[in-house]
Assembly symmetry: C2
Homo-oligomer: 463 residues x 2
């Protein structure tokens, strides 16, 4: 392991240059006009595997391709599947970026670019950890399989069936994913819970075209008015979602969890300052951490209607639309929630308005086994690289594919986040600390050694 | 008058070509980048007056210039001030125009372009009516003064003080304005009432920048959620505005008016078909015509927040904004309503949200004298040109400057609309019937003759 670490140390600059190269590719999976760029990012990842002597596959799907590679099998040792994604979120609003989103720029030890932390930088730590073993020792102490997709930011719709149809190829004892955050700078973490998501677009249509709000206003339903009324009705004044049955299956926080969360460092005042707000609001009866990690939400992600330019325009718009999402927690069922939502909206639809509800993607929340030998191995690897044992946290974001891996492959899932909460994921000025990139690579390389100490038949105690 | 009419008949094509020339100038007063074009439209109008031998002034203001011209004084005859505007609404959404908004195109006897009916075409009927008198008879039977502005679509903020400061120059017995519609094709109208307006932009700001809705959602107020909640609260389920005192000063419809409106042709089914809706909604207890002409409204004119592109983006937006307006009726006071609105919103502002309420422009509603000799003169002129006596109607739109003219100049106001309700004012595919353009020009020329029969000392009975 010493020679592996030395290789990582001496290639620190090269690894950063490789990350910058990948970050220059605008692989925005949601935008069809960027399809060629998105594919190019996948091919770039495949070329990394080829350069270390593996035989990668670029697997076509109905959407963006999957990239698969594996190191040689190691008899009597566990097998790990390492998952990540090469696609990124759209970079808008562009005018808020200090440096352009696809021109990676280093400031104060951080590399700024769309995808820096989510997930190109974090994903590459595992690629580079394997490269380090191959280039220094010549082989790995366990078999590592890589499955890197290009559709995580649009719902992983083609990865999901692929996993179900390739259980033997992907067979493993543990799945390793780095697509989340440490608890705070200097406090590494292992994530044992994720929220799910149900994302929609509600499109309302009123008159056949935009009308003069003076000549026609008052006599017909304005789709923008209808939209605000429908969306406002989805929440009560205590922040509770009003779709019938929404909370029925919610797994409540345990007393133990609430106690552990209270012990974590940081105050609400610090949190408010970090995001730049002067007040907090959320579901009554819960702390900010509980609301972010373990309670479902309703957030509007986009609103569009009528005139959005400079000055005033007295238009009664023909249409209005909103993108919005619920964050879900175990055991809420996205399908049941979609059905309840559709009924809720249809029942309240005012006269003269046509509605279309687009179901963009859904994924249930996740809780992984805390008492697993793989969890202990990960904790040891992280402690060796970061100099401190990780805390056990949940995360408010979603990695829709995690449930699929757990269910289809019967594997433990290790959510090892190297990012920081202020990395501006999905926001302008996304960044990733180059120190965290380096420590994550060291931790990844150490993890293969830790897991090599386990027996592949050793099973986790599923919670 | 025969030679005047002959001139108008024989110059029908030239007048249409002149209108097309003006329509080609994108004089969008709301957009600063179009300032030079807006000015060019004003200069084009001035050149029309110059070509007929008048001495126009292009009067600078803090915004877009005013154009003034007058025909020679005629002793012992009334004086008319003719008001119109050369600026236009923004043309968005551009992709819904069949032909480009600033490339005037004739289809089925209509000329399609932004500003065709509002107000370039209607305003030009009076310019051309005067040209016809000068070019055929050599002079007019009364003095006509023109005041054409370039800021009607942004609130006439510079015209208003100009009128107050130039009462002598603008002194007149009647003000003629053609910036509204006939009742229906073949049914000309005189408009005796207009709604006022109070137009706002509400800007909400939450976190210092866009955040990941998974990592942060639930713990802070989402500005887009706050916006929909605030806007929805402005109306109850019966369509009544909830700002305290909003209805206090509303002048109720008289029994006579309601009776007259019931007699007008047209059904609600026809109205629904004309705007393309399958159901109607408005303030409880009123017909569609009453709701459009004589009851106040709340309409959202634009919504903007978060991600509006293709696909899904899980963003918690830093800001959200809405443009919205109340249509007012006599005697609601825009200033009082702004104060009530601000208080209403501030009281409901959720924690962690900063609000800015921009007051774009306001104008009270208008009722003009029905029993005026000028009204009778206008009815006679319209009947001679359109072949049918006009009906007396109100109009839901606003012409903010009308009250200023009535108050500052003590003049009767004649609202003579040559447009049609389906002219797509403020909408894509705005149009103006070339037949109405021609008949409007004939009616305008006839009006100068009708008014010449009146004594300038004859006063209207103000209602």
């Amino acid at each position: 392991m010493d020679s592996v670490s030395s290789y990582i140390e001496s290639n620190r600059d090269q690894f950063a240059a490789d990350l910058a190269e990948l970050l220059r590719i605008p692989s925005i999976s949601a935008q069809a006009e960027k399809n060629a760029e998105t594919r190019r990012a996948g091919e770039w990842v495949a070329s990394q595997f080829k350069n270390m002597g593996l035989k990668p596959e670029v697997i076509p799907t109905k959407g963006h391709p999957l990239v698969y590679a594996e190191t040689p099998a190691v008899p009597s040792k566990p097998v790990v599947l390492c998952y990540g994604h090469y696609d990124v979120q759209p970079p808008e609003p562009l005018d808020e970026w200090i440096s352009p989103p696809f021109e990676p720029t280093v400031r104060d030890g951080n590399i700024f670019a769309r995808g820096a932390t989510d997930d190109k930088g974090q994903m590459l730590t595992h690629v580079k950890g394997v490269e380090a073993w191959i280039k220094s020792v010549g082989k790995l102490p366990i078999q590592v399989k890589f499955l890197i997709e290009g559709e995580e930011e649009v719902g992983s719709q083609n990865l999901e069936p692929y996993v179900g149809q390739n259980r033997e190829k992907l067979a493993c004892n543990a799945v390793v994913i780095s697509d989340c955050s440490q608890f705070a700078p200097g406090i590494p973490a292992i994530t044992y819970g994720l929220r799910g998501i149900a994302y929609y677009e509600l499109k309302l249509r009123g008159p056949k075209q935009d009308l003069h709000s003076g000549t026609f206003g008052g006599a017909i339903t304005n789709p923008a008015n209808a939209l605000t009324t429908l969306l406002a009705a989805l929440r009560d004044k205590d922040g509770r979602v009003q779709v019938p049955g929404f909370y029925d299956e919610v797994v409540p926080l345990t007393d133990r969890e609430r106690e552990e969360y209270r012990k974590l460092p940081g105050t609400e005042a610090e949190f408010m300052q970090s995001v730049g707000v002067t007040g907090m609001f959320g579901e009554a009866g819960y702390s900010a951490i509980e609301r972010r990690w373990a309670r479902p939400t309703f957030d509007i992600n986009g609103l569009t209607s009528g005139y959005q330019g400079e000055g005033a325009k007295t238009v009664l718009p023909a249409k209005a639309s909103a993108k919005f999402s619920f964050r879900l927690v175990p055991n809420q069922d996205p399908t049941k929630i979609t059905n309840g939502l559709r009924k809720f909206l249809e029942e309240r639809l005012p006269p003269g308005i046509q509605m279309e509800l687009v179901d963009h993607h859904g994924a249930p929340g996740v809780m992984v086994a805390l008492e697993s030998p793989y969890m202990a191995a990960a904790a040891a690897a992280i402690e060796s690289a970061f100099g401190r044992a990780p805390v056990m946290i949940r995360e408010g974001g979603s990695i829709p594919i995690v449930n699929t891996f757990a269910d289809e492959l019967g594997a433990d899932v290790l959510l090892l986040g190297w990012g920081q909460n202020d990395d501006n994921t999905h926001s302008p000025n996304e960044k990733f600390s180059l120190d965290d990139y380096h420590r994550g690579t060291l931790a990844s390389a150490a993890l293969w050694e830790q897991i090599a100490k386990l027996s592949p038949t050793e099973k986790s105690k599923k919670k």
